[in-house]
C-alpha cells in the first residue's frame, strides 16, 4: 500500500535523494544508445566543443532525475504518470563519475478537473553537482491518486469516482 497520496503533497515541501555517482560506463552507454554525438562520447571532440570536455547527454540527466525521483518518493506513492514537462534547463555539463544530489520541490497542487480520483502536483526537480551548483532544473507535474475522491468540479459533478484505479 503506498504511503503518499495526492493529499500528502503541499507547496514548499522538498524531497532530497543521493548524492548518486553517475558511472562513466552508464553515462556513455546511454549516449551510445540515445544521443551518440561526439561531445557525449569522444574525449577529443568533446574538448573542442562548447562543453569543454565529455559531458552527459541532457536526456541522460533527465532520465537520472526521473530515476532519483522514483527512488526518493514516487515508488511509495500513488503515481499515475505525468502529462508532461513545462521546461527543462540544462544549466551546466555533468561529467563522467560526477555525483549529483536530487532535489524535488513542490510548487503547487491541484485537483484534476476531469478525474475526481486524481490530483496533480507540480514539482521542480533539480540535480545539484559536487560544487553545489544546479546542473539540471526541470518543472513537471505528476498525476497522483487521491486518498479520497474529491469533487470533480461543476462540469463533471455527479460522475462516479473511480477510486483505486491508480497503480
Amino acid at each position: 500500500m503506498p504511503r503518499l497520496f495526492w493529499e500528502d503533497f503541499t507547496a514548499g515541501q522538498a524531497f532530497e535523494h543521493g548524492p548518486r555517482r553517475l558511472p562513466r560506463d552508464e553515462m556513455l552507454g546511454f549516449a551510445a544508445e540515445f544521443d551518440p554525438q561526439p561531445m557525449h562520447l569522444d574525449e577529443a571532440a568533446a574538448r573542442e566543443s562548447m562543453l569543454g570536455g565529455l559531458a552527459a547527454s541532457g536526456w541522460y540527466a533527465c532520465a537520472i532525475a526521473m530515476r532519483l525521483a522514483v527512488d526518493a518518493f514516487i515508488h511509495d506513492s500513488t503515481s499515475m504518470g505525468a502529462p508532461g514537462v513545462d521546461e527543462v534547463r540544462w544549466l551546466l555539463p555533468i561529467r563522467p563519475d560526477d555525483a549529483v544530489l536530487f532535489r524535488a520541490t513542490v510548487l503547487e497542487t491541484r485537483a484534476s478537473r476531469s478525474r475526481p480520483d486524481m490530483g496533480l502536483v507540480k514539482f521542480r526537480f533539480e540535480l545539484i553537482d559536487g560544487d553545489n551548483q544546479c546542473a539540471l532544473s526541470l518543472v513537471t507535474s505528476l498525476m497522483l491518486g487521491r486518498r479520497q475522491a474529491g469533487s470533480a468540479g461543476p462540469a463533471l459533478a455527479g460522475q462516479t469516482a473511480d477510486v483505486g484505479s491508480a497503480s
Partner: protein
C-alpha cells in the same frame, strides 16, 4: 548540419520511426523509471494505462537518437557534395513537453521536427540559436509526444575551429 543562415523557419524534417518493444520498454524503465506500469504487464493492466507502456523519457530519448541519425546522414551527404558542414552545439533545454498518449508495446512512433524560430545568440555571437517543435505520432496518426527544444547552430564563416 546546415549553417544557421541556411535554416528556414517553417522547414519540416521527417526523422523516421521507431517501434517500441516490450523488452526495450522494460529495460529503459528498470534503469530510469521503475514504475509498475512501465515494468510489468499485469501491474500495467491494473493501472489506468490499461497495458504496459513506455516511460515518457524513453519516447523523448528516442527522438534524440533519430535526430542524431538524421544529422549524421545529412552531414555525410553534404560532405559528399563538397559542402562545408556546420557544427551543432549543445542545447540549453526544452519546454512545453506533452506526453499526449501512452506509447504501448508494439507502437511505432514516427518523429518529425519543424523549425519555429531562429535568432543570433546574444551571449555567443558566432552561433545562432534555433527553436524546433518536435513531435512523434503513433501508427494511428495520434500525436504521442510534442515539445519545443532549442539548439546552438554554427553561423557561416563566423567560427574558427575553437569553441566560442
Amino acid at each position: 548540419m546546415k549553417f544557421f543562415e541556411d535554416i528556414a523557419v517553417g522547414e519540416r524534417i521527417a526523422l523516421g520511426s521507431h517501434t517500441f518493444t516490450a523488452d526495450a520498454i522494460k529495460a529503459f524503465a528498470r534503469r530510469f523509471d521503475p514504475q509498475p506500469f512501465h515494468l510489468d504487464e499485469e501491474a500495467a493492466a491494473r493501472s489506468h494505462f490499461g497495458a504496459l507502456c513506455a516511460s515518457g523519457w524513453h519516447t523523448g530519448a528516442m527522438w534524440m537518437r533519430l535526430m542524431v541519425d538524421y544529422q549524421r546522414t545529412e552531414d555525410a551527404a553534404m560532405r559528399s557534395r563538397g559542402e562545408p558542414v556546420a557544427r551543432l552545439g549543445p542545447s540549453p533545454g526544452f519546454r512545453e513537453l506533452k506526453w499526449l498518449k501512452p506509447v504501448y508495446v508494439g507502437d511505432t512512433v514516427d518523429y518529425a521536427t519543424e523549425v519555429v524560430e531562429k535568432r543570433v545568440s546574444k551571449s555567443r555571437p558566432n552561433w545562432g540559436l534555433i527553436s524546433i517543435r518536435n513531435t512523434g505520432a503513433n501508427q494511428a496518426g495520434e500525436t504521442v509526444i510534442s515539445f519545443v527544444s532549442a539548439a546552438f547552430v554554427e553561423r557561416r564563416g563566423r567560427t574558427a575551429r575553437e569553441a566560442p
